[in-house]
Amino acid sequence: MSVNNRDPLVVGGVIGDVLERFTRSIDLRVTYGQREVTNGLDIRPSQIINKPRVEIGGEDLRNFYTLVMVDPDVPSPSNPHLREYLHWLVTDIPATTGTNFGNEIVSYESPRPTSGIHRLVLVLFRQLGRQTVYEPGWRPQFNTREFAALYNLGLPVAAVYFNCQRDNGSGGRRT
């Protein structure tokens, strides 16, 4: 199914800020504890300390996928000059399995947003072969589009995003 204008990824600005328009072809299920992540869900940092359970669809076990988790709103959505921050990168995930079977080349770092409401995007790419993707040098200033172009990953096959803000509220007025 193709992405239309009412799709939550377009409405939430993920397509445009992070990704291009793509056609969803693989199922992607992300679960933090008991909660399954749907687009635009509101999750607190205390609930995402540990990495989620990710299950992907597809049919052929010989196809390998890469999962990228980025935050496009660092350090603050009003001033995202460090866009994007890479939180997690898992490669060589066989189809129909999960991230436990993949190669976690950038370990999971739990998001701790300080200011504003951040979007956290999980993107799934299809790899051409095994061990074709390497880790970037650093986490901030990550560019998903360039990353996909660099390793010939093409357009994404699945994506989901959720919102996250500070546990204790935004802090009110601080001059």
Binding site: G12, D42, D73, S76, S78, S115, G116, R173
Partner: protein, 208 residues
């Protein structure tokens, strides 16, 4: 000086009806315009600025629509009679009123909207109720338009509205790059799940 006294001579002792002829005879050289006696006796008050709506004052009772007074504005009387001054109409219903009141008196409403726009400009994305989010769009666009202009006067106007002056200075610094080509529509509202405590419909509002 002889003050002419209008003698009230009731023509009919039972009904005590005024007679125009007796009035006319009492007033010296009073030339009333030729009017038939069948016309209702109307009192002509000197009006300094003759209102086009009411050339003749017939008390506060609503004019019977069966009597055509020649006034084009009296279409219907579903709201009863209302005081009309200077042309401003007051209806009992909300017809045509577009200012969102947000269940607050005007001073609190202004303070709420000022606080909300300050926080949105500070954090870039906030979550409030849908009514507040759609009410603040106008003021956020106004602040960004002031920043686009960039002159000192506009900066001072923005400082008078936004509560934190660092946000104003940051806004004036980054708006020309960020919104230089965009004409209007600087915010986006995304509706979301209702709030748990009171089931209020919530929305994210963010700077585009």
């Amino acid at each position: 000086m002889a003050i002419p006294m209008a003698m009230a001579t009731p023509t009919d002792s039972v009904t005590r009806v005024w007679s125009m002829s007796s009035l006319r005879s009492a007033l010296p050289s009073c030339r009333l315009p030729s009017s038939t006696s069948r016309r209702a006796v109307t009192l002509r008050l000197p009006v300094s600025t003759p209102s086009p709506l009411l050339p003749s004052f017939s008390g506060l009772s609503p004019v019977n629509p069966l009597i055509s007074t020649g006034l084009p504005d009296w279409k219907s009387f579903e709201s009863g009679f209302k005081i009309i001054d200077g042309g401003g109409r007051v209806y009992a219903m909300r017809h045509g009123r577009r200012v969102p009141k947000l269940n607050r008196p005007p001073d609190q409403r202004k303070a709420l909207l000022r606080g909300l726009t300050t926080q949105l400009l500070k954090h870039g994305r906030i979550k409030t109720t849908r009514a507040r989010a759609s009410a603040m769009r106008k003021f956020v666009d106004k602040m960004i338009t002031l920043a686009k202009d960039g002159s000192l006067h506009k900066r001072r106007q923005a400082l008078g509205y936004i509560y934190e002056k660092q946000i104003v200075h940051a806004l004036f610094a980054e708006v020309p790059d960020r919104y230089g080509e965009r004409n209007g529509g600087y915010t986006r509202i995304i509706r979301t799940l209702p709030r748990r405590g009171d089931n209020a419909p919530m929305a994210y509002i963010e700077l585009v």
